[in-house]
Amino acid sequence: MRRLYLETSPEETREIDKALLCDSELQRQYNEMAAIKKELDNVQMQPPDSVVKNILHYAQGLQEHS
């Protein structure tokens, strides 16, 4: 999991990658997880423009008064 989310140190990354190369079952599991992670990234929702505009207006309003 930490490798998938790039939380491993360079040393840990090398060790895990070595293990992945030597273990095809581990590699298959890793690829499955990576595929699902990619899908999760793809389902992000966009807030409506009106909401974005409201936030920007608020930020600009504060900027003018500061």
């Binding site: 360079p10 095809s24 990576a34 389902v43 992000q44 807030p47 920007l56 900027q63």
Partner: protein
């Protein structure tokens, strides 16, 4: 014109010194992840919109009030604000569930009833909606870690601290979340997920992306 490659910290500094464009970049950079995370927690689009606004307004107030001291950690800080607001709403809604009508002045914001929202029914064929629905079906503890890691971009260590469990428990919950999600995707015949490709014989499995590029992942 600000370079879009600017780090979050640089953008915060620019915003503190009066650049509206810097704040706009920060907002566009993070709005989708934060909005998605909030939505998956509160399960109501309108509430998620309000809480997204509240999150950024709180951030703006702190930054412009000169109280921002999270140098280098803007996203984790923003994520904590969003998570706290969403969890507060989730808890208060759980204590006082409301059933209201979609008549323009009220929305479905009860946890029990929002699962079968009008939107979900109408857009059943939309694969994104379907995957979000599958995420919502995950056990609460697994879903929580998945949202915090995948959308709020918190580290596993931070998730462990915030949820009061060991890092191994947080990692285990994430692993089971992905495994369960995969099972649900296969069962639901989720269109975008190519189960044939990802269940190939082990000797045909593709290399992890970084390895196949010859990149050691640093």
């Amino acid at each position: 014109m600000i370079d879009k490659q600017c780090s979050d910290s640089q953008l915060v500094l620019l915003y503190q010194t009066g650049s509206e464009e810097a704040f706009e970049l920060l907002l566009h950079r993070h709005k989708s992840r934060i909005y998605t995370a909030i939505y998956l927690i509160v399960k109501d689009r309108y509430v998620a919109e309000d809480l997204l606004q509240d999150t950024f307004i709180k951030a703006v107030n702190v930054i412009k009030g000169g109280r921002y001291n999270e140098e280098g950690k803007f996203l984790p800080w923003l994520s904590r604000i969003a998570h706290n607001l969403a969890i507060d709403h989730f808890r208060s809604n759980k204590r006082h569930p409301e059933i209201t009508l979609e008549d323009g002045s009220h929305v479905f914001d009860s946890l029990q009833f929002s699962e079968d929202s009008f939107e979900t029914i109408q857009l059943k064929q939309d694969t994104k909606v379907r995957l979000r629905a599958l995420i919502k079906e995950l056990p609460e503890e697994q879903k929580e870690v998945l949202i915090m890691r995948n959308y709020l971009q918190m580290s596993f260590q931070e998730i462990a601290e915030r949820t009061g469990v060991s890092i191994n428990t947080a990692l285990g919950r994430m692993r089971y979340a992905l495994i369960n999600l995969r099972k649900k995707m296969v069962t639901a015949n989720y269109n975008a997920y190519d189960k044939n490709f990802y269940s190939t014989r082990s000797d045909e499995a593709p290399l992890p992306r970084d390895l196949s590029r010859g990149d050691e992942g640093n």
